[in-house]
């Protein structure tokens, strides 16, 4: 079974803090994704990586950066957290086929 794990299920941070969200997959997938999910807005793609050290902006990259130093790990970074970044963050991975595998999500609250 493919497994995608995220470092925390729940996280509370203060405005202005630097926040790291970690995602690890165990199936040697080339592609990894970071989404945020908000009520009424569905899932929106933040960043995408198709290989180590490679990244592409998604639909809403502002205020975020990413890092992919190893194939299995994809990190989302909030350089200076703001209250409007309070959300559910979902990581996913896939091979060059159709099925994305999602992690359980991290619910981030910025106060």
């Amino acid at each position: 079974d493919v497994k995608v794990t995220q470092s925390s299920r729940y996280l509370v941070k203060r405005t202005g803090e630097k926040v790291f969200l970690e995602c690890v997959q165990d199936m040697d997938h080339e592609n990894m994704f970071w989404y945020r999910q908000d009520p009424g807005l569905g899932l929106r793609l933040i960043y995408f990586s198709y290989d180590v050290k490679m990244k592409e902006k998604g639909d809403i990259p502002e205020g975020y950066s990413v890092s992919r130093e190893k194939k299995e790990r994809f990190s989302l970074i909030l350089e200076s957290a703001s209250t409007n970044q309070t959300s559910m963050y979902l990581c996913a991975s896939r091979t060059n086929s159709y099925e994305q595998y999602f992690g359980p999500g991290t619910r981030l609250t910025v106060t």
Binding site: V4, E30, N31, F33, Y35, G40, L41, G42, L43, R44, L45, F48, Y50, D51, E56, G58, D59, L90, A92, N96, S97, Y98, E99, Q100, Y101, F102, G103, P104, G105
Partner: protein, 112 residues
Amino acid sequence: LAKTTQPISMDSYEGQEVNITCSHNNIATNDYITWYQQFPSQGPRFIIQGYKTKVTNEVASLFIPADRKSSTLSLPRVSLSDTAVYYCLVGDLGAGSYQLTFGKGTKLSVIP
């Protein structure tokens, strides 16, 4: 990116067949159609994927007309455990492509 439009919500009784239609008028030649299911507090889970005509697996069927401007997810004989949000995605699955856009989803409520 092909934009998708789905109903916001649907209700169904247990045991009925449910059809959820997704509109994607500007679908491109290389785009595939994929459906995901999401339960509360979980990440989405793949259900089915197709390019044209009809695809069936153990949990659902996907109907795609010849013009591919819409698709219909069919869930046979739903149960309470099928209560979830269903997302239609349209995009290119090629190497290095991230062209998979989630819409807002359809919240299906199954009533006893």
